[in-house]
Symmetry: C2
Subunit: 415 residues, 2 copies
């Protein structure tokens, strides 16, 4: 029998069992998961998640973006609830922790509270946001973005994947186009527990990461149109080679951070080349640009520089250039008082905590606009993420979940 | 009634009808054809081709590489025959003329001879070679290469396409794994009629191209292995970005010809990037290199230079580098006397001819090793080839087919 609520601990074995079960859905041979948004694997993950919510008698709601909420009542259900969760979709051949840890950590928090008959002042709601990754359907964080009023639902519905499947059709197909409109409701606080996905925590030797916010993120899609022609018979000077133009641009993206400084990162992760035959000069290339920085004016300035360079390269290579923005998120500053609470709880539980910044985007970015928001990070081994080898020590997963428990509990106890 | 054999002309309308019918098989909306080797479209093209051969009572043989031969007997069938043809497969979203013109031009020659009851001294054989393009299954010119004894049949059989389908299984599936072993037989001459696929003829204003040979061709596959990681959380200096390494290499391939000179061309046509997600640093990139030059020592020297640069780039970018050769063809010199015959026939028919070099590989390359070989080129409008907009004036197609007729006829009349 628990003597005092401050002695409450999550059940690490139960957490691990749920996590291991989830990791079988979309499991890849190399130990990762491939659970793209609105795929059959995403449906299977949602189905088991909803069953788990119903097991502990949560009131389950699915909205018309497929966001899944499970509500545990408090003493006073007219008070804005505490929300906590993350996402169950993964990057292509991604890791087992990204997203799932925060959803299942919150599930374990609610299972613990239910098991111990803890009655909170406010309701607590667990959430699984739809399409956080944005890899199959752009943009990322679509479920929380629409819910928060920052993204347009119709636009998201009409997004198509690389095989031409529409977001809305896939959402309906897997049975998660709920009746309730995806729309923000008043919150007392939002917590998101997540792996760091970078090397900072591990290098510091600390166990709990407390990001003061998320860097600004800019995503662009670059389209180049050249002239396809025979690789053997077309003189070099007569070519409009779209892949060569792309290659120059990719290197410019890669070199930009060293020119701009201040922790900026720039990545080309995706490229599509047509007709993609060994003996044909490529005429259609599309690639992505991802720029991030905590100092957000720098992202914009960096992009203006890049854009001017892209234009010069395209002109020199005789290619038509088109650029479309697919995401532009300002940096998100989290709630100072919630961050302080996480640091305080960590200290009380004996876990060394580190204040930092998140280089990865999270649903918490949209939430931070409309409610006091904070995140709890667990260390990523080798800083690896979005890959099959993504890993976190189990004792660290347990530590973070205990911090989440006491943060959610403290917030939910506030009158 | 034809007064003299030298007045013989092909039937341009009949040629065009056959060509138009063939162009419906694998037709693309933008006016090209997508008829990859051993696909359903290739099967449909072969089926109609065989039916056409049977219509004029040719003796049809299919060998175990799927090469299709149609023999028209001569007076003395113990004499080595004259062979003429090309290929019916296309590049991905390729053009309607590449390959098909030479096969159907030869068909029209045989239809004309049959219609006019012309009896030749030697047999004439029409051929459709399997997998000339090499886009679905590497290497190119597989059918003629095995037939000529220059490629290993077992190796070709085990080649797989991008979806893992084996060459042999696909050959069997479409019903063209013939009983006869693909093996060279004595030839009196080999003619291949083809579009130029480059801008040289059109720029010269001439109608018939007479290549003295085909440039040397080197194909390499380059594989880079870096470290996949999160695009937002991985510091720039901690990256092993395989796509950035590939981008540097692609530019080196593109710049190499201007450093080497003497008409060399270098192309990266194909690239595969994994995991190919906007927010993941790429860890697996594979791309192709295509180097060509008439002066073949230059190709080898250029490749040695490139390889050394690739090693440096891979090391600097912390990527593992693997290189595999998929084709290495020496230049092919054609028969001087057959080239002279083509020039002579063109002059007699009133078509201006141009001596040149072929930048594109052809089945004629393997044939030139074992028999007197020559090619007849028709001009490509805008030099465009391997693309849907590939085009040749109809009067030029007719001109080339008449030249082919009289070259084949003259050779087949030789005792």
């Amino acid at each position: 029998m628990m003597k005092h609520i401050s002695d409450l601990k999550v059940n690490a074995d139960r957490l691990r069992n749920a996590w291991e079960k989830m990791a079988t859905i979309g499991a890849t041979p190399a130990g990762g998961v491939h659970r793209l948004a609105l795929s059959d694997e995403d449906k299977a993950a949602r189905d088991i998640f909803v069953a788990w919510l119903e097991d502990i008698h949560l009131e389950v709601t699915v909205d018309d973006m497929g966001n899944i909420f499970g509500k545990r009542s408090g003493k006073n259900n007219t008070l804005p609830p505490v929300l906590s969760g993350s996402h169950l979709d993964s990057a292509p051949k991604g890791g087992r922790f990204d997203g799932a840890l925060g959803v299942l950590g919150t599930l374990e928090v609610l299972r613990t509270l239910t098991e111990k008959n803890v009655v909170t002042e406010r309701p607590i709601i667990i959430v699984n946001w739809t399409n956080e990754e944005g890899c199959r359907f752009h943009p990322a964080m679509a479920g929380s973005g629409v819910w928060a009023g920052r993204l347009d639902k119709k636009t998201i519905y009409n997004q198509t994947d690389s095989r031409g499947k529409r977001f809305f059709d896939e959402l309906k197909r897997i049975g998660y186009n709920g009746a309730v409109a995806a729309k923000r409701f008043p919150l007392h606080a939002y917590f998101e527990y997540h792996i760091e996905q970078g090397p900072v925590l591990e290098n510091s030797g600390k166990v709990i990461g407390v990001p003061r916010g998320i860097v600004g993120v800019l995503w662009k899609n670059v389209f180049l149109k050249g002239l396809a022609n025979h690789a053997g018979t077309t003189p070099m000077q007569a070519r409009s080679d779209a892949l060569c133009a792309a290659a120059e641009m990719i290197l410019n993206v890669n070199e930009l951070p060293s020119r701009m400084g201040r922790g900026m990162v720039g990545t080309v992760g995706e490229i599509h080349n047509l007709p993609n035959a060994v003996n044909v000069i490529p005429d259609n290339v599309h690639f992505s640009v991802d720029l991030r920085c905590w100092e957000e004016d720098l992202v914009e300035r960096a992009w203006e520089k890049l854009k001017a360079e892209f234009k010069e390269i395209a002109e020199k290579r005789k290619c038509a250039l088109e650029i479309k923005e697919s995401m532009n998120l300002s940096r998100s500053a989290f709630s100072k008082s919630l961050c302080d609470k996480i640091i305080d709880v960590s200290r009380k539980l004996g876990y060394p905590a580190l204040e930092m910044v998140s280089g990865a985007g999270h649903d918490a970015a949209y939430l931070s606009d409309i409610a006091p928001t904070a995140m709890i990070f667990a260390p990523s081994i080798g800083g690896q993420s979005h890959v099959e080898s993504e890993n976190t020590k189990w004792e660290d997963c347990e530590a973070g979940t205990n911090v989440l428990l006491h943060c959610v509990l403290a917030s939910a106890m506030e009158k």
